[in-house]
């Protein structure tokens, strides 16, 4: 590689990096990094056991217990930190289900024969017609309670959004001259799809995945709050808020602080999602 080319590639990278170095994006990235490291190694951040009594019940936040203690004397911060694993893995699984199934459906329907397209898109219409909470509840009732099932149910509700977006991108990219030129230089359907159509349609789908990650956290917590998720005493954010709702008047920290962590995490994923989209449009 000649020196001119290396300089060019380097300047290209620094240019696209620009939009990702904004303070708000860095902040969002930092917040996500914290919750992800909580999920990966909760032991590094707290020494308290999340499901054991470690002190008197309903203690307000103090230096010893930063987020206070709950009705049975468990450390709230420790539960939030350990709960990150529960919530984030659930959200990740949900997004993975929606992304993989939805994108596959969308790409298939955008690139194959009209009859296939019609069938797949009508399935998507049906999915969109049912309110997402109702849909996920129905799936859970079919599959049974539990963290994994909740994640799958939440994932299924996002399939339609991924499928529609992926389809519209594929249809748009398929019409461009460079795709026709690729067929025109002897490319087969599979190679053109893999080399040209997919790479050029996936960026907005990835941005949607980041956005969905945030809303999956919310949905999983909602289902946890309603009691369809992990059984107590598992530290899950939605379940924690649900368990402490009787104490809203007397112990504000029980609902407010885990709720705040939840909101910050969701906002951070949304900000990152917009940054990805903005970078694509730049």
């Amino acid at each position: 590689m000649s020196s001119v080319a290396t300089v060019l590639t380097r300047s290209r990278k620094s240019q696209t990096g620009m939009s990702l170095l904004r303070p708000s994006v860095l902040l969002a990235f930092g917040a996500l990094l914290v919750s992800v490291s909580w999920a990966l190694a909760p032991g590094l951040f707290t020494s308290y056991d999340p499901i054991a009594n470690v002190g008197p019940s309903l203690q307000a936040p103090s230096a010893e217990h930063l987020f206070g203690t709950d009705s049975t004397g468990r450390d709230v911060l420790s539960r939030v930190i350990h709960g990150a694993r529960e919530t984030l893995t659930g959200a990740l699984m949900a997004v993975a289900v929606g992304f993989l199934v939805g994108t596959a459906m969308g790409v298939l329907s955008g690139s194959s024969h009209r009859s296939v397209d019609e069938v797949l898109m009508r399935i998507v219409d049906v999915l969109l017609a049912i309110p997402s909470l109702l849909l996920s509840l129905s799936v859970i009732i079919l599959l049974g309670y539990g963290t994994v099932n909740v994640a799958i149910a939440v994932g299924i509700t996002s399939i339609a959004a991924f499928a529609r977006l992926a389809r519209s991108q594929v249809v748009q990219v398929s019409r461009s001259d460079f795709v026709e030129a690729a067929y025109g230089s002897g490319g087969s359907f599979g190679t053109v799809l893999w080399r040209h159509i997919l790479p050029n349609s996936l960026t907005p789908v990835l941005a949607l995945a980041a956005l969905q990650f945030g809303s999956a956290i919310l949905q999983i917590s909602t289902l946890g709050f309603l009691g369809y998720g992990a059984p107590p005493p598992t530290p899950e954010w939605g379940l924690m808020i649900a368990e402490s709702r009787d104490f809203v008047a007397t112990a504000w920290w029980l609902t407010t602080l885990p709720g705040l962590v939840l909101v910050i995490t969701v906002l951070a994923t949304n900000r990152l999602s917009y940054a990805i989209q903005a970078r694509r449009n730049a």
């Binding site: 000649s2 080319a5 290209r12 460079f178 230089s185 002897g186 190679t191």
Partner: protein, 561 residues
């Protein structure tokens, strides 16, 4: 063309020997001195217009000629105070009106500029399809400036709107005024925009590429209309164009702009016959001309029937109705020669070219290339080694995520050359053939200019060593100097590789330069076909004659008939 004669005498009357000296002119309507404009983006300042000075007399047309990026539109935008964000006038003055009470346009704030726009300066924009509000009727758009400047009441405005529409040649103004832009053709829309621009009888009309989006026969009518209105209103026209031929035909004086700086200015006639500046000379010699046909080398006689198109018809079906885009076209083409398909938009030339390249099967008739029937061979990959297509828009035909080396090497990958090094070696060879430096291979399409991208597209088409190239308006999107380079590249490649070209174009001057034989298409029908010189020198069909006479040519010398 009576008005042109009158105008010319007009122009001669006002012409004085010290014409170039802008400061001492008394009949000047617009005097621009030392105008500089810079754009700032991401903290980097770029000079777009550099110390430009000119004078525009009353009743005169001044053409600002330049290629894309020369700053010609920026000049117009700074005069009406509508520079895009980031643009700033850094120096200069622009006085409008008689010297006694002249206004400096560049000093005006938005508030005081508003009474000038529309009333003293009318703007005819470039793209008629984008410049009318799609949710408003045509009549509403024409009356807009009258409404803004509070001219008359509703009834008189309506009467004036209908008058204006009739004046610019819109048939049945009553009905048209109630229609929406999408119900009008491109030419009609441009007429409506002209009507809107002259509604308040401005003394200065700025026409920013008013015809570059229109077909050549429509272009002529619109340019005639602008000329007529100029005489009627005794207005001056600042005519911005990339097309030297149009400028030469319509303007009294020229301002040649290159990279923001004036290269040459003066009477059009003088600049065209005796250009002083090197850039102007280059621009003139690069502009394809109908006046001096180039000498074509003789066509090699190895295979006189290399491409045979026989009775080709293509229908587009939608529901029960069908529409014939190409009707019964036939021609033969010898190996190593160039056949041009000429026509205006909607004439079916692209549909025909794509049928020859095997992108769709014809409804009737046949195409054979080198003895192979395209309709039956077009699905086989091997066919792609024989015929390749080059697209009009070099911005859309290259995958934005691939490097140039990957783009050029990709056809080889499709044909089983697995070794990355081998592919790269051959891609570099092709890049060298189209005169691109080796390091281009590691760059992305967006880092290249339009001309460089088109070279990459040609390299990709050539890497499989095809016999036939279908060039679909392959030079239409390029500036004239770049166009000339690509055309000479195509000629060199034709000789080196014994290529056969199908050259699709709306530009007759380019066609005359490159084609051995030509077919003229109108509404899908082949109205004329034959050797280029015969068709150009003695056109038989009236459509061909109309096309040829619509091409702008420099005005004849004043001494001539």
């Amino acid at each position: 063309m009576n008005h042109v004669e009158t105008l010319r005498s007009d122009w001669q009357r006002t012409t004085t020997p010290d014409r170039l000296d802008s400061s001492t002119h008394s009949t000047g309507l617009l005097t621009v001195e030392d105008l500089s404009v810079a754009y700032t983006s991401r903290g980097v300042q770029r000079q777009a217009v550099d110390q430009v000075s000119f004078t525009l007399d009353r009743g005169e047309t001044l053409a600002v000629v330049g290629e894309s990026g020369s700053g010609k539109s920026t000049i117009a935008q700074s005069l009406i105070g509508l520079l895009p964000a980031g643009g700033n006038v850094t120096s200069g003055t622009a006085h409008l009106g008689d010297p006694a009470d002249a206004l400096d346009l560049l000093q005006l704030r938005d508030q005081s500029m508003r009474p000038i726009r529309g009333r003293r300066i009318g703007l005819i924009p470039q793209d008629p399809s984008n410049s009318l509000n799609p949710v408003r009727t045509v009549g509403w758009s024409v009356a807009e400036s009258m409404r803004i400047h509070r001219r008359g009441d509703k009834r008189t405005r309506l009467r004036r709107t209908l008058e204006l529409l009739e004046r610019v040649g819109i048939d049945d103004p009553q009905r048209r005024a109630r229609q929406y832009p999408h119900e009008l053709s491109g030419g009609q829309r441009q007429r409506v925009l002209i009507a809107a621009a002259i509604a308040l009888e401005p003394e200065l009309i700025i026409a920013d590429e008013p015809t570059s989006a229109l077909d050549v026969t429509v272009q002529r009518v619109i340019l005639d209309l602008i000329d007529e209105l100029r005489t009627e209103l005794n207005a001056s026209v600042l005519f911005i164009t990339h097309d030297l031929a149009v400028a030469a035909e319509r303007a009294d004086s020229l301002l040649v702009l290159h990279q923001g700086a004036v290269k040459e200015r003066g009477p059009a006639q003088e600049i065209l016959t005796t250009p002083q500046d090197d850039y102007t000379k280059r621009l003139l010699s690069n502009a394809p001309s109908l006046l001096s046909p180039p000498v074509r080398r003789p066509v090699p006689e190895t295979d006189p029937e290399f491409v045979v198109v026989d009775g080709l018809t293509h229908r587009y079906k939608s529901g029960k109705s069908s529409f014939a885009a190409v009707k019964d076209v036939s021609f033969t083409l010898a190996r190593g020669s160039t056949h041009a398909l000429v026509g205006e938009s909607g004439s079916g030339k692209t549909t025909l070219g794509r049928a020859i390249a095997g992108f769709h099967a014809p409804s009737a008739g046949s195409v054979t290339v080198g003895g192979v029937d395209v309709a039956s061979a077009r699905k086989r990959p091997e066919f792609r080694k024989q015929v390749q297509l080059v697209y009009q828009n070099p911005y859309g035909s290259l995958d934005p995520r691939q490097s140039v080396g990957e783009i050029v090497g990709e056809p080889l990958r499709n044909f089983g050359i697995k070794d990355r090094g081998e592919r790269r070696r051959r891609a570099l060879l092709e890049l060298e053939r189209v005169a691109l430096p080796e390091e281009t291979a590691d760059r992305l399409p967006r880092e290249l200019s339009g001309g460089q991208r088109q070279r990459v597209a040609i390299a990709r088409a050539l890497v499989l060593r095809p016999d036939l190239l279908v060039l679909d308006e392959a030079v239409s999107a390029l500036d004239v100097t770049i166009q000339a380079q690509i055309l000479s590249l195509l000629e060199r490649l034709q000789q080196e590789l014994e290529l056969t070209y199908i050259f699709i174009s709306h530009d007759l001057a380019v066609v005359r330069q490159i084609a051995d034989t030509v077919s003229v298409l109108a509404a899908g029908e082949q109205v004329e076909s034959g050797p280029t010189e015969t068709v150009f020198n003695s056109p038989e069909h009236k459509y061909t004659r109309a096309l040829l006479s619509a091409i702008p040519r420099p005005r004849k010398t004043p001494a001539g008939p």
